[in-house]
């Protein structure tokens, strides 16, 4: 019931085993059938003889499926933790990582990158969408600031307004410009891991690990904020610093995740929720557990996305929404959030 270090370690070990299971299952599933023993043999062989050339199956496992799985796991973890922070910051259990406009900013960045031909290089779109997201974050932050303090209601309004403004620009661009590349944006808006590579993983890893670490470092403060901002101050925490921290780092990890794979909905909403229903609302346990469950969920969803209608690939966002939307309605109806 009460969170203790022992409980956190036990829960994390369990979920980590689950994550390993999901990764192995996902490695073996796909167009080319590769059995689990074979997958393990290839992984071990590659780990021991790192430089040895890969066979055809090795190539599929190590160069195609593994980076995609690792990237999906990283993004899933980032979105889940960002969801936890936004829900605490806004004291609203129905908030998600995109609620303050990160999504529209990064989409605008991606659209502009396509427009100027910047998307021809593999880093063009991620870079542009990350910049778009961070500019939005700063903009919303400055609009949402009243004096020196961050006003959550003003922040929410600023997010919604800036977000719809950017969406309008995106619509304008899409309808005015005749560019065949713009069809890419449709995939991007629904989430897409098909262009995953180890480079992307290495680039976003420090942001996501650092961001989750910074948020976890303030986990108890996030609990206090849920008692009300004034109460949190009266219990000895520096709420203004805490709110800024939660906002900046949650936005940062969302932007980092979104930049490499596009907008994937519902992960940041339903994972914190499900974990909270299972383990309680204490962020000291909620954050590490959501990290692992978020990773499992998105790896699973992406596996479904690339296998269910093979050889055609579904956008992963369609899969998460298929699970997410009914679950969300269930939560709304149950009203015990």
């Amino acid at each position: 019931m009460i969170v203790s270090p022992r409980k956190i370690i036990t829960v994390c070990c369990l979920f980590f085993c689950l994550l390993l299971g999901v990764i192995l299952a996902s490695l073996s599933l796909g167009a080319a059938k590769i059995g689990l023993p074979q997958v393990l043999r290839i992984l071990i062989h590659h780990a021991v003889y790192f430089d040895s050339p890969l066979g055809p199956e090795g190539l599929i496992i190590i160069s195609v499926r593994l980076p995609r799985i690792l990237l999906a796991g990283l993004v899933g973890a980032a979105l889940a933790v960002a969801g936890c922070s936004f829900q605490a910051l806004l004291r609203n259990p129905l908030a998600d990582p995109y609620i303050l406009g990160v999504s529209s900013g990064s989409a605008l960045g991606a659209v502009l990158a396509i427009l100027v031909g910047f998307s021809a290089t593999s880093f063009g779109m991620p870079l542009a969408s990350f910049c778009g997201a961070m500019i939005t974050v700063m903009l919303v932050f400055h609009v949402g600031k009243v004096g020196r303090s961050l006003h959550t209601n003003t922040l929410l309004l600023a997010g919604v307004i800036i977000s719809s403004f950017f969406s309008a620009i995106i619509m304008f661009v899409i309808s005015v410009v005749q560019n065949e590349d713009l069809s890419k944006i449709v995939f991007w808006l629904m989430g897409d891991f098909s262009s995953s590579s180890y480079h992307f993983i290495l680039i976003i890893l420090p942001y996501i690990v650092g961001g989750i670490g910074a948020i976890y470092f303030n986990a108890r403060g996030l609990n206090l904020i849920l008692m009300g901002e004034e109460t949190a101050v009266q219990l000895g925490s520096d709420v203004e610093r805490l709110k800024k921290m939660a906002y900046i780092f949650a936005s940062l990890i969302t932007a980092a995740g979104v930049s490499v794979c596009g907008l994937i909905g519902f992960v940041g909403l339903i994972i914190p929720h499900s974990v909270r229903m299972l383990l309680g609302p204490d962020h000291r346990l909620l954050i590490p557990a959501s990290t692992l469950v978020g990773a499992c969920f998105l790896i699973g969803s992406d596996t479904i996305a690339r296998t269910i209608a093979a050889p055609t690939e579904l956008p992963v966002g369609a899969v998460t929404a298929t699970f997410g939307a009914p679950f969300f309605i269930y939560l709304l109806k149950r009203r015990k959030v």
């Binding site: 019931m1 009460i2 969170v3 203790s4 270090p5 004291r91 609203n92 259990p93 470092f217 303030n218 108890r220 609990n223 206090l224 849920l226 008692m227 009300g228 004034e230 109460t231 101050v233 009266q234 219990l235 000895g236 925490s237 520096d238 909270r276 309680g280 609302p281 204490d282 000291r284 015990k336 959030v337």
Partner: protein, 272 residues
């Protein structure tokens, strides 16, 4: 036993002074009440005393230490606040909420230790809340939830407890139960109590001293007998009341009088 010294404080949000040139001294172990109409500055005063906002002029001393210079956790170890009825939309259990009272004592990544659990358990026993420690606070009744908030305040091991209209959403039996508990804590644990109340009768029943605020200034301050008087209430609230004595406890008691004459024509209501 910690004292509160308020020295010539003034506070304004924008242009208008909400608190103006206020001074008083609450000695350690005393039980004070603050009454006054809406907008007279009661809640603002409480926010200043808990360090939530800083007065533009004047000083507040908690047990001789300047409040402005104290660190947040150090304030929280001395001064605890029981809020008005608050909604908590996340499923924290009562025990988890009371344990949060220990946070000023804990380092950033430190977990509650054995003595934190002991303090918490004692606080919950005192407030008779142990039996619902596993239940979510959101499922408790208003009266039970207010007791949980007292328990959380006690878990802070404070010397001063500030209460902000703590019984405004409780029925009469829970109001009395609540103030009985506070009054017992005041006597047995020597806690200094300062409560903001809309209920003048409750304040005059339980408090040793009462401050009557009007427009951010002290209109009158003293024992309930000195403050709760027909003339002062009429001047500050602009409403006519009848003040007599509680027949059992002898503390002053007010009776509200309607402004329009009543149809059954009670003589008091028609006095010009």
């Amino acid at each position: 036993m910690a004292s509160i010294d308020v020295k010539e404080i003034s506070f304004r949000y924008i242009a208008q002074w909400v608190i103006e040139d206020l001074s008083f001294r609450v000695k350690g172990g005393e039980f004070w009440g603050i009454i006054g109409p809406n907008g007279s500055g009661k809640t603002t005063l409480l926010k200043i005393l808990s360090g939530l906002i800083k007065p533009q002029r004047g000083r507040v001393l908690i047990d001789g230490d300047e409040l402005r210079r104290m660190k947040r956790p150090d304030i929280a170890k001395k001064v605890a606040v029981v809020p008005q009825e608050t909604q908590i939309s996340f499923p924290f259990t009562s025990l988890e909420v009371v344990l949060m009272g220990r946070s000023p004592y804990l380092g950033r990544l430190q977990f509650e230790g054995r003595d934190d659990f002991e303090v918490t358990e004692r606080a919950m026993r005192l407030t008779d809340t142990l039996q619902f420690s596993r239940r979510p606070v959101s499922e408790l009744s208003g009266g039970e939830r207010q007791r949980i908030f007292i328990a959380r305040a006690l878990a802070q091991e404070p010397e001063i407890i500030l209460l902000d209209e703590p019984t405004s959403n409780l029925d009469i039996s829970h109001q009395v139960e609540f103030y009985d508990l506070i009054s017992r804590l005041n006597r047995e644990k020597n806690l200094t109590i300062l409560t903001v109340s809309h209920d003048i009768n409750l304040a005059s029943e339980y408090c040793q001293k009462i401050i009557l605020l009007s427009g951010g200034r002290i209109f009158k301050m003293g024992s309930p007998r000195e403050v709760v008087a027909e003339e002062s209430i009429r001047q500050v609230y602009g409403s006519r009341v009848l003040v007599d004595e509680n027949p059992v406890t002898k503390s002053p008691r007010i009776t509200l009088l309607r402004k329009e004459p009543s149809y059954n024509g009670t003589p008091e209501a028609q006095v010009k």
